[in-house]
């Protein structure tokens, strides 16, 4: 507080840096360096995690063999079998299922907020959607375990643990991510395009379907990719409802496991090769999210070119 007030009367002179006193430009430098430090710490954090996970997990590809690790059909660490294919498949099933449920819901919400809703409606719905993003994942998990699971159990005849419950929970969890970004994409379309469509006599639905959504296409794909990143990395909520059985998909109501939930289940007791295998699984997750972030980068480059 005192720093800014002390430096303002001098710097607002308009004549530039020459009028700034020595004391205040030292302050400027200190502030710049603090920001630099913040950025460096963030970058270092990613680099350190990457190196740590890589160093701890890399040996598994040699010890177990790339084919047996990535292509192995059985995850049974106490018997020395480290096949992660069922877990990768589980992560993909849960993520794709969550997208099928969550993406239409989120895009629909975004279209409603940006194209249909009255100002009053918007002021109610938007904070509610944003609030969804603030709900801790363990609360989602608990909701899934106590409320959703018994319902699914009745529907599928099992115990209610499995991909269906996990997808429903994840589908709701990713709504704020996708809908906020989709709304931004719709909002960034020049107003004239929408008005032109209406002026041609198009209905609201025709405007949304034929004009707005195609125009915002890249932004929406962006939003969906980021939603996928959120879904594939989610751990706690999935762990609580997916059943954690390291087998391939057997049905919507049958237990299954994912990379993230299996890491958490095994971490407390894993030693030696088993622990290395868990880090190997973390490498796979890292590669997945790198691919997703890469996808977003490429898309934004495409967007710049077409814009």
């Amino acid at each position: 507080m005192t720093e800014t007030s002390a430096h303002e009367p001098e710097s607002t002179g308009g004549a530039g840096f020459k009028r700034i006193s020595r004391a205040s430009h030292i302050k400027e430098l200190i502030l710049q360096n603090i920001f630099l430090l913040c950025a460096l710490i963030a970058v270092m954090g990613v680099a350190l995690i990457f190196v740590f996970v890589g160093v701890r997990g890399w040996p598994i590809f040699g010890e177990v063999g790339l084919g047996k690790f990535l292509g192995g059909l059985t995850w049974h660490p106490t018997a020395g079998e480290f096949g992660v294919l069922p877990l990768i498949a589980g992560s993909l099933v849960v993520t794709v299922g969550a997208m099928i449920i969550g993406a239409p819901l989120a895009i629909g919400t975004a279209v409603f907020l940006s194209e249909v809703a009255s100002r009053r409606m918007r002021s109610i719905v938007r904070p509610a959607v944003e609030l969804l993003a603030g709900v801790p994942s363990v609360v989602y998990g608990f909701f899934g375990l106590m409320i959703l699971r018994p319902v699914i159990a009745k529907m599928t005849g099992g115990l209610g643990f499995g991909p269906l419950t996990a997808c429903l929970i994840l589908g709701i969890m990713i709504v704020p991510t996708i809908s906020t970004l989709t709304e931004d994409a719709l909002g960034s379309i020049p107003g004239g395009i929408r008005e032109a469509s209406y002026a041609m006599g198009a209905t609201t639905w025709q405007t949304i379907y034929k004009v707005m959504l195609p125009a915002a296409k890249l932004g929406i794909i962006d939003a969906i990719i980021l939603g996928m990143g959120r879904a594939i990395g989610e751990t706690m909520a999935v762990l609580m409802v997916v059943g954690n059985a390291p087998v391939f998909y057997q049905g919507p109501g049958k237990p299954m496991s994912t990379l993230t939930s299996q890491i958490v289940m095994d971490m407390p007791y894993a030693t030696g090769e088993h622990r290395t295998a868990l880090f190997g699984m973390a490498i796979i997750l890292f590669l997945f999210s790198m691919a997703l972030v890469g996808g977003v980068r490429i898309l934004s480059r495409v967007k710049e070119r077409t814009a």
Binding site: S11, G16, L29, T74, H76, P255, D266
Partner: protein, 302 residues
Amino acid sequence: MPVSDVSRLKISFGHACTWRRMSGLLTAILVLASMSLSGCSQTSGGREQIVVNGSTTILPIAEIAAEDFTKANPDTKVLVSGVGSSAGIESVSSGSSDIGTSSRDLKPEEDSLGLIDTPIAYDAIAVIVNPANHVRKLTTQQVKDIFMGKITNWKQVGGSDLTIGLVNRDEASGTREAFSKVVLDSEDFDPSAVILPGTGQVRAVVGSEASAIGYISLGFVNSEVRAVSIDGVEPTVEAVTAGTYPITRVLHFFTAEQPTGLAKRYIDFVLSPSVQDTVVRDAGFIPISARSQSSVSGGSGD
């Protein structure tokens, strides 16, 4: 806006005053360091403390005993946490805890760790079903076949036509380890069973689903679930004491060396009648002395 001023500043002074940059960076680091130092002051405050870590089954005993112990000895602190038996054994052998609690015996590969075993109580593992389930008794063989996935419908064991919903524990669980050893002869569980990370969750799910079956420590059985009789013997404290109930185990405290100092005082307290006859019994376990006369299989001796 001052933004442009700042950027101009950077251009003009950036190269000339690198030492200033460095000192700025240093100040920032110092500020951050002093902040983090003042943030976490020492909490131990000169009190002697031990860390007790491991089985979630033993948690009720270890925790209540720790409370009573520190009440009687205010200058000490006993930190208890439940992370699973395997994690407890791992932590005491790596030195990150003073006592590792375990609801299973050491595995052959853990013998080389040279841990000192102090048995503290007996426990039975109850096979639990939903109260709405008509099946009241099972044989050890039937339980084995159910958990290995060979029996998949309740009508095969005299119940209604309903697919069995298997609820298993995670591999860090000592209860799972003991159950696997006694009932499954260490053969593999059905891998497609639901795996839940805690006794409480197993009980809650079995209590809410009519088709479910699970296993938990006898001390955790309550009215939410029904414990079935095994080979005609109901899981009761009397049956365990008499040695007739088949699925029993020993609860252990492991230490890296012969316990000394505070760890020894705490273990002696847990073994004293004031804990054994109250805390251990209240938690549904059987005091270690109760079966010393009758022949005990698997007891590591005293």
